[in-house]
Amino acid sequence: MRFMMIVKATADSENGKPPSPELFEAMMKYNEELAKAGVLLAADGLHPSSNAIRISYPEPGGKPKVIDGPFTEAKELIAGYTLIEVKSREEAIEWAMRMPDPHGNGEGRIELRQVFEAPELTEDPSMLVSHAKLTEEMKRRGRS
């Protein structure tokens, strides 16, 4: 099962302020731990939204609207992500709990999200059931 640990942006990360050396080291150590446990798939940090663009479709079927960054709502933005491959949701939670506070100034927020995967890659029966339900639901919607 794959999970993405998403580190949310803060005013500092949006201003391009690098993490403190202590935090940087703690993050490196954490990534090394993930790698030595054989669960790390990818980890990346993102540039501030000042050089980002946002594409939206305000009109159904209409042309996309493109807005240049920076975007104001820092809390809703993403500063980085770590992708892990684990055996259970609980294992993912345990790893997420071990991630160092990503900002250290009271603003640190991590979101743990599961990645969709083909059902044959997982043997977890509850996952198979939820996947089957979702497929069913999508079929039902496709017909109506």
Partner: protein, 420 residues
């Protein structure tokens, strides 16, 4: 937290900590069986306490302390009766808290590497090595291992008990990391166990299941761990790369009804780009060590050619043929020759390749190998010799041990018959 929820959370901690715990304890008590018992005892205590107290901040250190206390208890109680615990007491005092808590991460890597070398020790049977590695490094239960191999649980339990006993009797239960000329041989044994595990999951040799995900996942994880704890060994990265590439195609190699889909017919847009990227990075690490590529890295290099090709036709088959040539030099084998023939057929046409395959027909090692007539059938078909192709596919089907593969070959044979 409900009881089952906290149990799942504790199992997750166990999954993360057990290998490090057993590796560290084995360093202390010099007996892997005893180390596992102590770790299990610590788990039992955790299962009792954590649902009430919550999971501690440093669960690994907590388990290590509990296991060490348990060891000292046993030492006091059984001092005269069982001398093996004396060693525990003596060595337990030698280690500082930091070491016990695994703060020095280099040490954790060394402990894990020693443990892998031990569970893959050549004095053990192959089956024993696989079972013990899954149990101690993978943290799997005997039940999970049994289900993965589709054998009864007591069989696996017995393999593990026997393996631990063999290690103890040979006093190999916790030796130093092998070095020098021994290292190469021992590393080969480790790589072999992991790849065996992966292949067992990737293409079950018998039975109805074409892939067994748990074994593939575990092998891949162990391969990734090995590459981290033995970063200077090109073949560790080679094996990791090879498995990343093969795993990138897992989703596409079986159809909805469980039927196998050949490489040429797979939907390449569904290949896992992330795993391919990881495979390429691991292969690069193997190359950057500046030593000649071994069999795993060469096979990974071949897999990389496929991974980077937009279609079967646009694959660099000449490069693949050359890599098989290199592979046959470091790992001479009729199966490698057969694969080289396939690549040559794709690069230069079926006529010359068919000759190569026919030369291999007298190879004793390939007498029962279904892929030989299967490949021959393929070349014959391309040369328009449809009737002979059909016969070759039928012969291949009769040898195939996997039901799904047999069905595929029979379908190809039937297609030839109806085309005649």
């Amino acid at each position: 937290m409900t009881e089952s929820a906290s149990r799942l959370a504790i199992e997750a901690v166990w999954r993360i900590e057990s290998a490090k715990l057993i590796a560290g304890l084995t360093r202390m008590v010099r007996d892997v069986g005893l180390a596992e018992d102590l770790a299990q005892d610590a788990l039992v205590i955790a299962l009792e306490k954590w649902p009430v107290t919550g999971i501690p901040d440093k669960p690994g250190a907590w388990l290590m302390t509990a296991a060490k206390r348990r060891a000292l208890d046993l030492l006091r109680r059984d001092k005269l009766r069982d001398r093996k615990y004396e060693e525990v007491g003596r060595s337990a005092e030698l280690y500082t808290e930091d070491e016990l808590n695994g703060e020095a991460s280099g040490e954790i890597g060394d402990d894990l590497l020693r443990l892998i070398f031990m569970t893959c020790h050549p004095i053990l049977s192959r089956e024993g090595r696989v079972a013990l590695t899954l149990r101690l490094l993978g943290g799997l239960t005997t039940d999970e291992i049994a289900r993965a191999f589709i054998v009864p649980e007591p069989t696996i339990a017995q393999r593990i008990v026997r393996a631990k006993r063999t290690l103890r009797e040979a006093r190999a239960a916790f030796e130093e990391t092998p070095a020098g000329p021994e290292l190469k041989e021992r590393l080969e044994a480790v790589l072999e166990v992991i790849y065996l595990m992966f292949n067992e999951g990737y293409a079950a040799t018998s039975g109805e299941n074409w892939t067994r995900p748990l074994l593939c996942q575990e092998a891949l994880r162990l391969g990734r761990i090995l590459a981290e704890v033995a970063p200077l060994e090109p073949e560790a990265h080679g094996l990791a790369a090879l498995m990343e590439f093969q795993a990138s195609r897992l989703k596409t190699r079986v159809g909805p009804a469980g039927e196998p889909i050949l490489l040429a017919d797979q939907n390449r847009s569904l290949w896992d780009r992330l795993l391919i990227r990881r495979g390429l990075a691991a292969l690069e690490r193997a190359r950057s060590l500046g030593r000649p590529l071994g069999p795993y890295a060469l096979q990974a290099a071949i897999a990389a050619c496929h991974a980077e090709a937009p279609s079967s036709e646009e694959t660099n088959w000449m490069r693949i043929a050359a890599l098989y040539e290199a592979l046959s030099r470091v790992m001479p084998s009729p199966i490698v020759e057969l694969n080289r023939a396939v690549a040559i057929g794709m690069a230069f046409g079926p006529a010359f390749a068919l000759e190569l395959v026919e030369q291999l027909e007298s190879e004793p090692a390939l007498q029962d190998y279904h892929l030989l007539p299967s490949v021959k059938g393929d070349f014959l078909y391309k040369l328009g010799r449809i009737e002979e192709a059909g016969a070759a596919f039928e012969a291949a089907a009769a040898m195939a041990r996997n039901e799904q593969e047999r069905d595929l070959l029979l379908r190809r044979a039937a297609a030839c018959r109806s085309a005649e």
